[in-house]
Assembly symmetry: C2
Homo-oligomer: 431 residues x 2
């Protein structure tokens, strides 16, 4: 697919992508919907109000969804509408567009609606109701299990029967670029001491978790589980996510109810939501496809290709330093698919709402420098070398972490763009 708009070959936002987001600018003070294309955002509010969707009758009654400060109303319209809108925009932007007067030959509207990405501010794409984080990265679960229990009992007995998950903190999900303070909290400086006495301290083992996450489009009612055969139609689209984790706070607090303060200080997502349709060409088998057939029926998918082949990477840049690529992984390193997560989440009757965010869990490979967290790479003992020669067991103040992920090939990337966060020093408390 080729566009009349010049799109850099390495752009994550090729014509094959068309991800949706929420933007503002110096002129657009009230955030509106947009898509990303190459180095531009197409302001869908302006595009819609200028007749840009005139050749797409189905969307006419719903044009107001593009003028809202979140994508929730658009997402709630359902997958057939998302698909039509994406394909229509692809047509409008194609070299051989059947609607040249809509935008290709309409320089006035181009000037009004096509904004350089460098001039827009991205906002959270959805108003998030609940945020749930799964633990579907098989290699991650195994690696962590080895660290805590050794290789023979690395995976818990439930792991290959259900996608383990916990409820996360929705309020502190932030969009890429938002700096976060290193959290303060209780840590156990000397775990061997008896009795165990915690100290109050800035986190000393601040880590990342490389994840994908998806947003819910259409809700289900309380008491009405979503069959796995219908689960995909409840998924709006996918983002890249950094589930920042305070390992020392987590180690002390997490028994018996799981991580809480160790994760609630911030979770970073990319601002552009890739529709599942755009990821369709990159389907592949997930890990251990034979396990799929052993699952209880409510989790069994007909389709063998229930994962996505999306190369992922982690880059760390220390203050004033150069970027260091510390890990390469792939989205196919998940034991459970997004529809399986959604079906499991609702099997009790739990209701999901438009805008709910469901994370995959950390996505690690099973070789060196493919892990999705520092903990797995360093075990707190074997440092990672950065480009300037400095070493890291965990993150230091001033470090910037950039996650990236893109499927496809040059000129046709379907990518997330950068998921960036910088660690600020811990807040100094006077209490």
């Amino acid at each position: 697919m080729a566009s009349w708009l010049q799109i850099p070959k390495n752009s994550p936002f090729s014509l094959a992508n068309i991800p949706f987001g929420i933007i503002s600018s110096s002129k657009i003070t009230s955030p509106v919907a947009a898509i990303a294309i190459g180095d531009y955002a197409l302001n869908l509010s302006t595009f819609a109000s200028s007749g840009g969707f005139s050749q797409l009758p189905a969307i006419q009654p719903h044009l107001n969804v593009f003028s809202q400060p979140t994508l929730n109303a658009f997402a709630a319209l359902g997958r057939p509408v998302h698909r039509q809108v994406r394909e229509y925009i692809q047509k409008v932007l194609s070299t051989d567009t059947p609607f040249p007067q809509t935008l290709k030959d309409n320089v006035t509207l181009q000037k009004e609606a096509l904004l350089p990405l460098s001039e827009v501010t991205n906002h959270l794409p959805m108003q998030i109701g609940d945020y749930t984080d799964f633990y579907a990265g098989l290699n991650h679960a195994y690696n962590i299990g080895v660290l805590f229990r050794g290789p023979d009992n690395a995976l818990q007995p439930n792991y290959k029967h259900l996608p383990v998950a916990y409820h996360g903190r929705a309020s502190s999900v932030v969009t890429s670029g938002t700096p976060l303070h290193r959290p303060n909290g209780q840590i156990l400086a000397n775990p061997a001491a008896n009795p165990k006495l915690p100290t109050f301290s800035p986190c000393k083992k601040l880590d990342i978790e490389l994840e994908l996450a998806f947003f819910v489009s259409q809700p289900n009612d309380l008491g009405k589980p979503v069959p796995i055969s219908e689960a995909e139609d409840h998924i709006f689209g996918v983002v890249l996510m950094n589930d920042w984790s305070a390992r020392d706070i987590q180690a002390w607090e997490y028994i018996p109810l799981g991580p809480f303060n160790a994760k609630n200080f911030g979770t970073t997502i990319t601002p552009w939501v890739i529709l599942t349709d755009a990821l369709e060409p990159f389907r592949t088998s997930g890990l251990e496809p034979e396990n799929r057939d052993s699952l209880l029926p409510y989790l069994r998918e007909k389709r063998a290709e229930n994962a996505y082949d999306i190369p992922l990477e982690i880059e760390v840049t220390n203050a004033g330093g150069k970027p260091t690529l510390i890990s390469r992984s792939n989205a196919k390193n998940l034991l459970y698919s997004f529809p399986q997560m959604l079906a499991h989440h609702t099997i009790t009757g739990c209701n999901l709402n438009t805008g709910d965010l469901l994370g995959s869990g950390t996505i690690s490979g099973n070789e060196g420098q493919t892990q999705g967290s520092f903990l797995e790479q360093t075990n707190g003992k074997n440092p990672i070398k950065l480009a300037d020669g400095s070493e890291r067991l965990f993150l230091e103040d001033g470090d910037t972490v950039t996650l990236r992920g893109a499927a496809g090939t040059e000129g046709n990337y379907v990518g997330f763009g950068d998921c960036v966060g910088t660690i600020l020093p811990a807040v100094k408390l006077d209490f």
Copy 2:
């Protein structure tokens, strides 16, 4: 305090209470704010638009908060406003009211704004952003610990240093009276088998948890912990809560990230929010006050009376049967206070929003028939006898659970009203 309105002596909604909620009726189709007084709801939208607040200048710019379908806007006004409004309404309803023409002598407005509780529908009082559940009931944590690990290691090493908590599911919080289906899910029918193979089944160990919960009024920004000295001013008010729990689903799923599907199918709260000011006369010392002084400074409260003396009870009624009181507890059975929970939640910089709900954890006494859950009372072995002679290890289909709680004495009760839920049979799935 006496009212010109006839208030039954056993009403939880005495003049000393004045709890806030959201109601609708056959005539009020768009939900509005109200307070409960005796057997009536005072429609605050009608009251405000009819000049009811004319003697309270401070609230004049904000009268629109009472016409909204949630209390979020009212809560966000902050504690000094809540206090003024409650005290003003108490004056208006007092026998010796200084403003007799407002309502006491205004029969027209009485007919318009005072609605029998039996004729109103209660709604969720707040739009809940995030819901967090703590584990601050010391006796509950001890009782559960004894069941799983014996009396010598009943409490985990962290328990007396921080209020353990987990993120809960906000979307499935429902208001009293909403029936819930018994959840389906994965359970381990034979835990001793090797390998462990789950079966798909309706939950067979459906339980309750008797809790209090509080709503957040004013938010804090991400990265700005709330000092414990200011925490109380971020608390709007308190409700009674039943954190329904599927024990068999929980036992299989909860390692290593805590309860998920075992709790996400429903959580029931009372619809009337008691302002913390109304509970002020019932302050008392919490459990183990000496522990307070050993806490890290960010959790140390100056006030010794950091709990509330509120008698609580659990009643179970089987289908067609009579009510059986199965437990009496008290809100003072908490090791941590609400301000301690809020301070701990935010110490990492986690932002709380107006409408967030924070639960106390199960509130159990330390004697027979004072426990806040079936699991503690029966250990799955020693049944509870109901009034009709039938026995319960856990809940059966058709059972109705009613939680109640009220502080104070006859004629002056500050109570929550009933927190009611009936268990419907599990949904039959054709997938």
